[in-house]
């Protein structure tokens, strides 16, 4: 018994058909060193309350059904050792569904937004295939390596429901769908790459609405690093020359304008260049306040006035931009 630890599971309970509001129930149990979070969910159901509901199937980290949150941390219940989390968060574990606002019953959530967004990026190889092909459609090791690890996704939704951009912007495709878009866009058998790049470049729903918080990289139980794939989708827009000039693409490319002049980003110029003169009115109030507190100066952003100090050896940066730049807007 020495390796057992007393743990309290503060567990989210809700039945959308009968309950007005969700509530939390506390279950106490002795937990052993080899028990997984899924074992604890089973024990709630078997030892405490048979009505407790959760999704589970493969028990091998491959079906993606049992993703929940423990103390706010995305957790694939069948893969996660329970005492590891006790060590991290203390002896009260808060057991919640991946998204409390989508809860149907206890840990079971309505994942329809996840599947709609996944389907929206055409997550399959688009090509004309003969009905009765005589040869295989082979992939070389190099072609396969293009996918990086994006093919390992089990659609558990851990990243999707950890994404703060998605929490406040319903239109955002989210990290899992964007990972799938990357997976098929770099597949050499696929012919819908440009179409997918256009879908994922859409302002309001696509890659430019990612807030760069890295929550998805942290959440993924398969260590896929979805934000890395979002970065690659950004790059592909420029590499394949399909990027449209807009506030987001100019913002990315515009960093070089200041760097060529001083080595630093030009904070005033980047706003002006990205938004255009007409778009600047939105920022006048903020600019006045920043001027008043001395954060920017009256001459910031005016060409031919040196508001920003130059770095030493600026010529090196200018030369490197000249010889190492690979993309254009």
């Amino acid at each position: 018994m020495s390796q057992m630890k007393k743990v309290t599971l503060k567990t989210f309970r809700f039945n959308a058909e009968t309950d007005y509001l969700p509530y939390y129930k506390h279950y106490e149990m002795e937990v052993g060193k080899d028990e997984l979070i899924l074992d604890l969910l089973n024990r709630i159901k078997w030892e405490h309350d048979g009505s407790f509901s959760y999704r589970r199937s493969c028990r091998h980290g491959i079906c993606g059904a049992c993703a929940i949150k423990v103390n706010g941390r995305a957790t694939l219940a069948c893969k996660q050792n329970a005492l590891e989390l006790v060590e991290l968060f203390g002896d009260e574990l808060v057991i919640e569904p991946s998204s409390t606002k989508r809860a149907i019953k206890d840990m079971i959530i309505d994942k329809s937004d996840f599947w709609e967004k996944h389907a929206a990026v055409k997550p399959y190889v688009v090509t004309e295939v003969e009905a009765h092909p005589e040869t295989e459609s082979k992939q070389s090791i190099e072609e396969f390596n293009n996918f990086l690890d994006s093919d390992l996704c089990i659609q558990c939704g851990a990243c999707h429901y950890s994404c703060p951009a998605l929490e406040v912007n319903d239109a955002f495709l989210g990290p899992a769908a964007l990972n799938a878009a990357y997976r098929f866009t770099v597949d050499t058998r696929d012919e819908a790459g440009d179409e997918r790049l256009a879908i994922t470049a859409e302002q309001g729903s696509g890659v430019w609405d990612c807030v760069k918080c890295f929550e998805c990289a942290e959440a993924c139980p398969k260590e896929i690093n979805p934000i890395e794939k979002i970065g690659k989708l950004h790059n592909l827009q420029f590499e394949r020359g399909v990027a449209k000039s807009n506030v987001a693409t100019r913002h990315a490319e515009g960093f070089l304008r200041g760097m060529k002049k001083t080595g630093f980003l030009d904070e005033a110029d980047i706003v002006l260049y990205s938004e255009g003169y007409l778009g600047m009115y939105k920022h006048l109030g903020t600019a006045m306040k920043m001027m008043k507190s001395g954060k920017i100066h009256w001459h910031s952003g005016i060409p031919f006035i040196n508001s920003i100090p130059k770095i030493k050896n600026l010529d090196e940066v200018q030369k490197l931009i000249e010889i190492a730049q690979t993309n254009k807007l």
Binding site: P164, C213, H251, V271, V317, L320
Partner: protein, 298 residues
């Protein structure tokens, strides 16, 4: 102190432009603690994760160039911005694990007489203070205890995520339950505020292209801190500071309530407790009024 700590400081863009108070308070803190700082005056912008979206290879070349200058001095490079930390560390990681990429980058750097070797560590000043200088020694130097203040630590994404990139440099900080800023506040005798949003995103990076998202994320965090009785928020990242300090009026409109909370840079808070001068702390550069904190503290 047996051996004086000596760091190469990568200032980043904001400390040289819109947040001069970050640079002056960093230097003041280092001076008080007897830490030697050499500013990397050759260092350029890190790309802030946006240049990386445009041209990843070029971003690696330019970040590698910055690191070269720390390597030349044989020093650890310290950063005072989470996003500078992230992008510099990402380049270091990419080059150190991929000899082919490193060779391609060095081919470009050779044209300006530089070579990236991979010999310098890269660390945020917050973790240099905690892990290398030590909280106990900081505690001894406190002349103005912050005991009257409830201080909300706001960690900023790019120091804590992805954890696997940062764990060497940030003392294995857990991104779901970070403690470093809390323990620093405690060492300065302030009262750390416990609130859910401390490890969340401030929305800075989509300020231009997804303004509503940006305002709501900043608003959620500020309101959470205010509702948990914070007198001020403190962050190691000047981009979090810019979002949370500069936009409180517009954030308040989105949130439908008044949002007023001074947002300090981590070194400003330390400088306040160590008795640095009002000018060095530079609270006058804040958009949300913060000057009163100096008078209240002393």
């Amino acid at each position: 102190m047996s051996e004086q700590l000596h760091y190469a400081l990568f200032t980043g863009c904001t400390a040289k432009q819109s947040t001069p108070e970050l640079l002056s308070s960093t230097l003041a803190v280092a001076d008080k603690l007897g830490i030697k700082i050499t500013i990397l005056e050759e260092a350029s912008c890190c790309g802030a994760s946006h240049l990386q979206d445009f041209d990843e290879f070029l971003a690696h070349v330019l970040n590698a160039r910055n690191i070269c200058y720390a390597e030349k001095l044989g020093l650890t490079m310290i950063t005072i911005c989470n996003t500078c930390q992230l992008n510099s560390a990402m380049t270091k990681r990419a080059l150190d694990k991929d000899p082919e990429l490193k060779a391609r980058v060095n081919e470009k750097l050779a044209e300006v007489g530089l070579e990236y070797k991979g010999t310098s560590e890269i660390k945020h000043f917050l973790y240099a203070l905690i892990d290398e200088y030590g909280l106990d020694k900081i505690r001894e130097k406190v002349t103005t205890p912050l005991s009257q203040f409830n201080i909300a630590p706001f960690y900023g994404c790019h120091n804590i995520r992805p954890s696997e990139l940062h764990e060497e440099a940030n003392g294995h900080e857990n991104p779901y339950a970070p403690t470093s800023l809390d323990s620093l506040i405690d060492a300065l005798e302030g009262n750390p505020v416990e609130y859910e949003s401390k490890n969340k995103c401030c929305g800075f990076h989509v300020e231009l292209q997804a303004n509503h998202t940006s305002e709501v994320l900043a608003g959620n965090a500020l309101v959470d801190a205010i509702d948990n009785n914070a007198d001020m928020m403190v962050t190691p990242c000047p981009l979090c500071h810019l979002k949370m300090d500069t936009y409180q009026d517009s954030v308040g409109k989105v949130m439908g309530r008044d949002v007023e909370l001074p947002v300090l840079h981590m070194p400003q808070m330390v400088a306040l407790a160590l008795g640095c001068s009002e000018k060095e702390i530079g609270l006058n550069f804040h958009v949300q009024k913060a000057k009163q904190l100096y008078a209240q503290a002393s």
